[in-house]
């Protein structure tokens, strides 16, 4: 990559991240949060901000634009979008349930820590006790421990597929969530392609042997993340009636990506 190309891509990425932040900020500034039922704005705002954060972190780290890591983040982005879209169809009830589930998981983790404390080496007990106190304080600041239920099922009572269908995101589920779940859970459909290769020894029945391949950069992963964050921005604009003049990240990408196509970028 020439110096000029390097500068161009740096500038593009910096401007792209600024567009993501500006798009979020303008929408949030136009939003009047419900304060009595604060769960709604906390969950909607938090999930939308999470989506923006993931998009920015991908952009800032070109070294992860490959099949090993990028799909893990993209899967998380599709999950975030489906969760948010489903919550937005019944914000009060679902945002409360979403929070309660999270608090229950935290409570369960604290129970595990407390009950295993006698197994912890002497020198580390103070540290673990401090960790328990900090986590308990976070928990109690939202709902007193005695009132926290623990749900060991799905937080919504539904599968992600059902949520996606109900929220009108079935294609996102089928064509993004499902394929990215392979790398996210290290399943064979990913590992069988990325981390094993056929052995050349004819005596070995063409079995597969492990590899740790070094992959190049594929800007298509960044493009996809721009698509998902844009989809989330469109969703909150529509559902919450929020106007925004900042271009969507995907539009910015299309108009400003400094290479003609992905191959040109890969070959640099």
């Amino acid at each position: 990559m020439t110096d000029e190309q390097s500068k161009n891509i740096d500038k593009f990425l910096s401007d792209y991240c600024n567009i993501i932040v500006a798009g979020f900020k303008e929408r949030w500034d136009n939003y009047i949060p419900e304060i009595y039922h604060n769960e709604i704005s906390e969950v909607i705002g938090g999930l939308a901000a999470r989506q923006a954060t993931l998009a920015i972190e991908i952009a800032r780290n070109p070294g992860i634009w490959n099949g090993h890591i990028a799909p893990i983040i993209l899967r998380c982005m599709t999950d975030t979008h489906i969760t948010l879209a489903w919550i937005l169809d019944s914000p009060l009830e679902r945002s409360k349930e979403y929070i309660r589930f999270g608090l229950g998981q935290e409570k369960l983790f604290i129970e595990y820590l407390q009950n295993e404390i006698d197994q912890i080496p002497d020198g580390e007990i103070d540290e673990v006790e401090q960790l328990i106190e900090i986590r308990k304080a976070w928990l109690n600041s939202q709902l007193l421990e005695w009132a926290i239920e623990i749900n060991i099922g799905s937080w919504s009572g539904k599968s992600t597929r059902e949520m996606a269908i109900e929220a009108g995101c079935e294609s996102l589920y089928k064509f993004a969530y499902v394929p990215f779940s392979g790398p996210a859970h290290s399943m064979w459909q990913h590992v069988g392609i990325y981390n094993v290769i056929q052995c050349n020894n004819p005596l070995h029945k063409q079995h597969k042997i492990p590899i740790i391949p070094s992959l190049g950069i594929e800007p298509d992963y960044l493009y996809r993340s721009s698509k998902y964050v844009s989809r989330t921005y469109i969703l909150i604009s529509e559902k919450l009636d929020l106007k925004c003049d900042v271009p969507l990240p995907i539009i910015f990408f299309d108009n400003n990506f400094p290479f003609q196509n992905s191959n040109e970028a890969i070959n640099c």
Partner: protein, 244 residues
């Protein structure tokens, strides 16, 4: 030593584990911040501007007036703003006149100005606006300071605010303590807040006031309006050194 089980005392219902206290029938949850603070914050404004003593006199005057009114099936607690929502115009005048007679009205009008002028549905707006003009910016600032000061029910301003619920009942003579009950000195909350006596008194006030509040079965119309009005009046503020 026998190891404690995870989630001891919890009861499994399907995929949910219910904590012991929530297994009790008829449990209703009230939040101090969400539900009680909006009901009591008018007294917080009075405490802030004048004193706790002035707040007590304000309530004492109301109790004096309302004692003469016909008894209700569900008695009101006049520490809560909702208690004033459906009293008659004549009853409002009686209270206002009594405050005026005791030379309290002018200061009450100044203290309650943020609620009277910024919150359309404030049920004590019959006190009227203050005699001098106050800018909206100042009113919002005062409201913010007052709410911030009373947000914590474990600190003196919050404890006193909660205590007004019980104080009103004591003044009205509708609550009595058994002679053998070891009642803590409630003044210690204000005079010696760091002492064990004050902590015991605070716990007593918190628990009894929260129980009393539950019995009042107030609707959440005002608390909901109060908090959402806050979002209309002023924007979110990020903590220092935090960037969006």
């Amino acid at each position: 030593m026998k190891k404690k089980k995870n989630l001891e005392g919890y009861k499994q219902r399907g995929k949910r584990f219910i904590p012991p206290l929530k297994q009790l029938p008829g449990i209703r949850e009230y939040s101090y911040v969400n539900d009680m603070l909006p009901e009591l914050i008018w007294l917080g404004l009075i405490h802030d501007r004048m004193s706790y003593n002035f707040g007590a006199r304000t309530l004492e005057t109301v109790v004096g007036v309302t004692k003469k009114w016909p008894k209700l099936d569900n008695p009101k607690n006049f520490a809560t703003q909702s208690a004033y929502a459906d009293i008659t115009e004549g009853q409002k005048s009686e209270i206002k006149n009594a405050w005026n007679k005791h030379s309290l009205l002018n200061e009450i009008q100044h203290a309650l100005a943020p609620l009277v002028l910024l919150y359309d549905n404030f049920s004590l707006s019959f006190v009227g606006p203050p005699s001098s003009l106050i800018s909206q910016e100042v009113l919002i600032q005062r409201m913010k300071q007052c709410v911030r000061k009373h947000l914590n029910k474990y600190e003196t301003p919050g404890i006193v605010l909660l205590g007004t619920i019980m104080l009103t009942r004591l003044m009205a003579g509708t609550i009595k303590f058994a002679a053998n009950l070891d009642i803590p000195d409630f003044n210690s909350v204000i005079e010696k807040p760091e002492t064990d006596e004050a902590k015991r008194a605070a716990a007593f006030l918190r628990s009894s006031s929260m129980a009393e509040f539950g019995l009042l079965s107030l609707k959440n119309i005002w608390p909901k309006y109060f908090w959402n009005r806050g979002a209309e009046l002023s924007r979110c503020e990020y903590p220092e050194n935090t960037l969006l």
